[in-house]
Amino acid sequence: MNTKVLASLLLLPIIVLAGSMLRLSYMSNFEKVEVAVQGYDPKDFFSGYYMYLRPDWDKTDCTQFADNVCPKENFNNTYTFYIKREQSEKLTQKVNAGVVTLQFSYSPGFEPIITDLFVDGTSFMEFVNTKQ
């Protein structure tokens, strides 16, 4: 195959990944909703450490959604939130205490995208910086 064609094919992964980034960043700018969660802390080599979180609809404020109804069917059963290894223990304690919520960028018809995690109403980065 022609060298120039081959070289241009090398751009395929870059174009696809850049496209994914743009699409996801667009989807991250919808209206924000908060969902209570429960979960635990696993890890794997490719992803690193993350919290495995399950929406807890009984504790979620459904008034933030249209008609005051939680659209459970639009959300997955589980979500992952990526963290550093040393943060996992403290965050697990907070999750077990039931004071953690996930913030989603949500618009009906689109897949909800996680935009932040709140511990006792504090954003995750603030929580990490104050506790360390």
């Binding site: 870059i14 696809v16 990944l17 080599f45 490719f46 992952t80 550093k84 996680i114």
Partner: protein, 437 residues
């Protein structure tokens, strides 16, 4: 006046001159196969290091910088590949292609991490194999990496069995049945794509006169491995036994056995036509044994002597021994050597990460190197070196801390690449001295 004979003589001279020149060029650019294997291994280490560093989740770096940085790194890397293609640097080209493959994987992982995407690793592998195929055209040996990830991406793994067999065949009474059913059809189609893939490969091998071994070897190996992987799929039942009625599993067997039998029949017919020795009968034997074994396990599940781990550990050994016996009987020396290497890997893989266990492995490797050096077998000598390197890396790898692991892998990879390039430069001296003695 120039006679016809003189013209012919001049032509012959010119032809032989061209041939000699071509041979010299080929010799100058000829790759040392095993050194290339090591180089690929080292490039994989660098790539894995990059993935591990991504996985370490550097929260202090803004997401835009991480994502942008990845794209820039990919752009630079593809530029480097283009440069090596333009300047005819085949070895460097393959190293960069290898690292690029892992950069793509790292990029996919990073996007998942930044946007907290919840997805099965198989989906990442499928995306990777769909967008990184141009690299295989540039460095065909990447098929060794591409093929298993494609298979994994197609979910020909126990997960498929969970979706397809448990939900699809037996059905599920809960509200999400409709979703699961659709999912099952998708997986079913993906599964058949793999069968088609194998069939195309076998047809190609049968009818292609100019066989490109760089392409054929990994295809052959992984097609076989895939069929063997049916072990794992069926062995999944052994794990799920307490929950399932053994009699209900039999229809599921037939569903998988039927396409396999059809495929094996076509291949058997083609092989008979072309009188080609095929590896397929071996896998047929293997699958039959596995089917029998799992069926027996199911029948005696509550009091089964063997557990899941024993199945996982013993089946590869049984398979490798079968492969060795078969290849010896069929007089297929390469396949025989491959089986012996596979048995060695099994042997070393069973050791745990204690110094007490490391030493016997290294002694085995040293013996291989020594015997190879005495019998002037460069391949076996390099095989011993590769095994030793892998075993040592297994011992020192710290999988608990991803930052350290990433840096360790990158460092080890670069070190090995440097060593190999030096070895390639000086190996001639080493083996010439040996020849003189």
């Amino acid at each position: 006046m120039v006679t016809k004979a003189q013209l012919k003589a001049a032509q012959v001279e010119q032809n032989s001159g061209e041939k000699a020149e071509a041979a010299a060029t080929a010799a100058a650019t000829r790759e040392n196969y095993w050194m290339m294997v090591l180089l690929y291994f080292a490039s994989f280490l660098v790539g894995l290091g990059i993935v591990a560093e991504v996985a370490a989740n550097w929260q202090s770096i803004p997401n835009a910088v991480k994502l942008g940085g990845t794209l820039v790194a990919m752009l630079i890397n593809s530029g480097a590949i283009w440069w090596t293609m333009k300047n005819d640097k085949p070895i460097l080209k393959q190293i960069f292609a290898c690292i690029y493959a892992f950069l793509i994987m790292g990029g996919i992982g990073l996007i998942g991490q930044v946007y907290n995407l919840h997805s099965h690793a198989a989906n990442a592998c499928l995306l990777w194999s769909l967008i990184s195929w141009p690299l295989v055209l540039i460095a065909p040996r990447l098929l060794w990496l591409w093929t298993p990830l494609f298979f994994f991406g197609c979910r020909y793994m126990p997960h498929l069995m969970e979706d397809f067999v448990i939900d699809g065949v037996f059905g599920s009474a809960d509200a999400s049945q409709q979703y699961r059913f659709n999912n099952t059809i998708l997986n079913f189609l993906r599964g058949y794509l793999v069968f088609v893939f194998i069939l195309i490969y076998e047809l190609w091998v049968n009818f292609d006169k100019k066989q490109n071994k760089t392409v054929i070897n990994p295809l052959r190996f992984y097609c076989g491995m895939f069929l063997w992987n049916m072990y794992g799929c069926t062995a999944y039942f052994a794990q799920a036994l307490p929950k399932l009625d053994p009699q209900l599993l039999m229809p599921a067997y037939f569903r998988f056995a039927l396409p396999y039998a059809i495929l094996a029949g076509i291949i058997y017919f083609l092989n008979n036509q072309t009188k080609r020795k095929s590896f397929m009968p071996l896998f047929l034997i293997g699958v039959l044994i596995q089917e029998a074994y799992i069926s027996l396990s199911i029948a005696y599940a509550p009091h089964s002597f063997f557990g899941w781990h024993e199945v996982n550990s013993m089946l590869p050994l049984v398979f490798c021994l079968l492969m060795a016996v078969y290849s010896k009987y069929q007089k297929m020396p390469r396949l025989f050597k491959l089986s012996v290497i596979a048995i060695l890997f099994w042997f070393i893989g069973t050791f745990e990460d204690h110094m007490f266990d490391l030493l016997p492995s290294l002694i085995v490797c040293a013996v291989i190197c020594l015997l190879a050096y005495r019998s002037k077998s460069r391949r076996w000598f390099n095989t011993g070196v590769i095994l030793a390197v892998i075993r040592i890396l297994c011992y020192y790898g710290d999988v608990e801390n991803l930052e350290h692991l990433g840096l360790y892998l990158i460092g080890a990879g670069i070190l090995i690449i440097g060593t190999i390039l030096l070895l390639m430069k000086f190996s001639k001296v080493l083996w010439e001295k040996k020849d003189e003695h």
